[in-house]
């Protein structure tokens, strides 16, 4: 019979299987389950921490004044979608400045600097114009002084509108 022949052929082609160690497979399974559980726990921690950070953002009109982690208190009820969108836009606008979230910041040596301090040096565009006019070169404040000393911590490479930072 062809079916018997087929079974025989497949059986021969499959060969003999090596012995397995059930303890080995069990150990791998346990490790994987443990890893999955740890990942889930870490994800939960990150989510909760993220929620707490969002609550504690300065300037947010959320329930930051209610204390540390109070996710339940962070819930707000909305009457409809338009209400929700309007509130979201309002809250986002309060946290976003011209340079990004939380009014952004400029790059200086050592990381981000606050932009709230007033600018002391001339803007880059003004320096360039002076150089082009043949005046004495204006040294960038960051080159002659420690970073942030003359400019209030703001990089001098910002193009324009730095004074608009709030």
């Amino acid at each position: 019979m062809t079916e018997e022949q087929l079974r025989r052929l497949l059986d021969g082609a499959a060969g003999e299987a090596p012995m397995a160690d059930p303890d080995d497979v069990l150990r791998i399974g346990r490790a994987k389950v443990k890893r999955r559980r740890l990942t889930a726990a870490a994800t939960a921690v990150v989510l909760i921490a993220g929620g707490a950070t969002a609550i504690a953002l300065p300037g947010s009109k959320g329930p930051a004044t209610h204390g540390p982690i109070r996710l339940a208190g962070a819930l707000t009820s909305y009457t409809d979608c338009a209400h929700l969108l309007a509130d979201l836009q309002q809250r986002s606008a309060a946290d976003v400045g011209p340079y990004g979230f939380n009014t952004g910041g400029g790059f200086v040596h050592g990381g981000l600097a606050p932009t709230a301090a007033p600018l002391a040096g001339p803007a880059y565009g003004a320096q360039k114009q002076l150089r082009a006019a043949g005046d004495a070169p204006v040294a960038a404040p960051a080159a002659s002084a420690p970073a942030g000393a003359a400019t209030g911590g703001v990089a001098t490479t910002t193009t324009s509108g730095a004074s608009g930072a709030s």
Binding site: M1, T2, E3, Q5, L6, R7, L9, L10, D11, G12, A13, A14, G15, E16, A17, P18, M19, A20, P22, D23, V25, L26, I28, G29, R30, K32, V33, K34, R36, R37
Partner: protein, 176 residues
């Protein structure tokens, strides 16, 4: 804890019982001995992960089998391009000693590699594992009629390659 709730002894028994069939199935589906063992182990590990959600202990072996077949198809898809590019490492054994079982095994494996994945899977489940048409259909997630047609086409291909007698199978006679 979940880990302690799992019936580890039952799982070890499952490994003992299903390992040989899983490895042999994966060998024919992938054509790669090393990958077959990895895939079999992976199928069992996945079964362990979902042990708690399996309705009955008997469902565990079916779960492992289904997982294995799906993983083998994925493995084939991933490796197909490389396989086409690489020259065949196995020596051509057609016309070798008819009593040489190694030669037969190589011929069959080579012929199976020419089949589309879905036909090979149907054939192996049906004739190596001796699953019924219903069980094969459930494992592959297709209709029973699809299993029939896939097996029929696969058998025709193998016959055309001279691996099978010209005599039609009982299944072929019933569908003729």
């Amino acid at each position: 804890m979940w880990g302690e709730r799992r019936d580890d002894e039952a799982f070890k028994r499952l490994v003992d019982q299903t390992w040989p069939q899983l490895v042999r199935t994966a060998r024919l589906l992938t054509g790669d001995d090393a990958a077959a063992e990895d895939l079999a182990q992976n199928a069992l590990v996945k079964t362990y992960e979902h042990w708690g959600s399996l309705r009955a202990p008997e469902a565990a072996s079916a779960y492992a089998r289904t997982t294995l077949v799906r993983d083998c198809v994925r493995w084939r898809t991933r490796n197909r391009r490389e396989e086409r590019r690489a020259p065949d490492a196995l020596p051509e054994r057609l016309g070798a000693d008819p009593y040489d079982s190694t030669g037969d095994a190589l011929r069959v494996r080579r012929a199976l590699r020419t089949l589309p994945d879905e036909q090979r899977a149907a054939l192996v489940l049906r004739y190596l594992l001796d699953l019924s048409e219903e069980e094969t259909a459930a494992t592959l997630g297709v209709a029973r009629g699809t299993v029939k047609s896939r097996c029929s086409r696969a058998i025709s291909t193998l016959r055309a390659q001279g691996l099978l007698d010209d005599e039609p199978t009982a299944f072929e006679r019933s569908t003729a």
